[in-house]
Symmetry: C2
């Protein structure tokens, strides 16, 4: 698929996205942070969380007044390793960027930190924030809640969002390990990709209001139903995916002085756009010498990549090294964009009186 | 099933297990810690990690000299929020108990803590350690690696253990939320239960050396193969279960100054019994007032329990409250034990010259 799609330059796409956000009223520095995070996703092949959302999701929410483009971020701290950020309903990218830096700074002092953020909005891919720890030789964590779209086992009514967990672990000569997993069987963005490309979705992603599988992605959530937690069925561990998502909701919402997303939906002031997050960092050399650690991670990655494969399987895919390879290729050759995404960016340029130069 | 099984008193089972461990050479205090953790699992219905393992697993390993019953635990710390424990190849229960206390004490001072432990052995159910945080109004975490039994996606050779993650979150009037999830589709202990009860296992738990599903539990790992990561298949997110397990291996092994279990297996000194762990604690009132937090967790649990259900589903099961209900019933009426487990405990009593009085 990616072979046939037009390629756009990473730098150009970042500048275009920054300018669009500025035209939408986002201050320059915040527009740069947001554009950088969006394009970093496309670069790593995580197209479900990249510029495809720039106009339809973030842009339109800004225009509808659902996101405060000039938030006053506040940090409250009652202990050396912890803090809570109030995002003032700002762009989740900006809240996330500053909250993760807060976590990194605290871990530098105490070895381990945990920072929560409330009154924020959709922050894109959790991996970006976790990865911010890497250049500091730290392990980074992040997770977030959002509007419920995933059902509880036994119910067909959404109870939690796809509440992702991201963890980034530095390696030495190998690319870092980067996990970024929705706690549903698939990320919501993958359903959007299926709609965009006219593909069916597998059984196990979405159920209807009767609990029956939905395979036509355009029929998702029509008349009820929702996405399934990771595991998919009781015998294959659906309680695990749901339990992990539930815990991520608690660490994001209640632990930031907010509430779980299922409760937030019932509050009069909620407008379906509220999100809370958490961020953590571990300074590796407060546990073990950093060079030993990195060698040990490299050895693990090498051993995994060398595992015997089932016939027909080309390679063992490791989260992090896999995306790093995609990023390297796209940095050289440009980021392939779906024609529908290009149309949407052109429309955005027109709406904002910008030149489309990608 | 549990209706027909003989019931044994919790206190008696704890005393019996303590005495057996003492006869095996474990000092009294460590025997008490170990017995308490084992029986706590059976009490909460987690029979895959309870006294069924007392003779066959822990007892026999002690007798074979694979576990050091009089370890010298050492704690190394280079930052206020972090520490590493060397378990001196002691019982994992004892290492885990002391390492989690270390995490709790550090979180009391700094708000958030992370403690790793190396040179340990199988520590039973991860939930027990996470739950130790609850009485301190903290959120607790724990995870562990062990001998590889779970395959990497695309391989049929075990790469990691079922590397569980446990998280315990205090509630107010409701029982606490307690997640304890193997990152495989099922916990290894559930396969043992299927063997004990003569049941088949579902497709998606185990594959053979060709990558084909195994449903006869007695044929697991015969001639190769292994358990599948949570998600089970690529389209339902097997990379997520594997990625989470991989991260848990890194946090347990390399971050404690040890190595990933796949590497440990190749070392001459490894005897298939080595395990590393991690433990974390978050002091809730360093983020938000504890009463607000607990009310918020209660509200979430109540809202989840009140969700509309799919026809035929009796109730929405929440991890933690579900097990608390089982524990309450078993505390009153005794713990049901499988006849094969009773036979094994009788044999253990005979071997150790103890009276069997359960």
């Amino acid at each position: 698929m990616s072979e046939e799609r037009p390629r756009v330059d990473t730098g150009k796409l970042t500048r275009f996205s920054t300018e669009a956000l500025e035209k939408l009223g986002v201050p320059k520095e915040d527009a740069e942070i947001t554009a950088r995070i969006l394009v970093a996703c496309d670069l790593r092949g995580v197209e479900s969380h990249g510029v495809a959302h720039l106009r339809m999701f973030y842009g339109n929410r800004i225009r509808r007044g659902l996101i405060n483009v000039t938030p006053k971020l506040q940090v409250f701290s009652h202990a050396p390793s912890t803090a809570v950020m109030d995002g003032d309903n700002g762009l989740g990218f900006v809240v996330g960027y500053h909250a993760m830096n807060e976590a990194i700074n605290r871990a530098r002092e105490t070895g381990a930190s945990f920072v929560t953020a409330r009154n924020s909005t959709h922050y894109g891919a959790a991996a970006y924030y976790a990865m911010m720890a890497l250049e500091h030789d730290m392990i980074g964590f992040s997770g977030t809640n959002n509007v419920p779209i995933v059902v509880a086992p036994g119910s067909s009514v959404p109870a939690i969002s796809s509440n992702p967990l991201a963890v980034a672990v530095p390696a030495g000569e190998k690319p870092p390990i980067v996990l970024d997993m929705a706690t549903s069987t698939c990320a919501g963005g993958k359903i959007e990709i299926a709609i965009r490309t006219g593909s069916d979705i597998p059984e196990g992603w979405v159920i209807d209001s009767e609990g029956q599988p939905v395979t036509d992605p355009t029929k998702r959530f029509r008349g009820g139903g929702g996405m399934l937690p990771l595991g998919g069925s009781p015998e294959l561990g659906v309680y695990k995916g749901f339990g992990l998502g539930l815990v991520i909701d608690l660490l994001s919402g209640p632990l930031s002085g907010s509430v779980a997303s299922l409760i937030k939906e019932t509050l009069p002031e909620a407008r379906g756009n509220y999100s809370d997050h958490f961020f953590g960092a571990l300074r590796i050399d407060s546990f073990t010498p950093i060079e030993d650690f990195k060698k040990s991670v490299d050895a693990f990655i090498n051993a995994l990549e060398a595992l015997p494969r089932i016939p027909g399987v080309d390679r063992i895919t490791i989260p992090g090294p896999y995306e790093a390879e995609i990023a390297e290729e796209r940095q050289s050759n440009g980021i392939p964009l779906d024609p529908k995404v290009i149309d949407d960016l052109k429309l955005l340029a027109e709406e904002l009186g910008m030149e489309y130069d990608l």
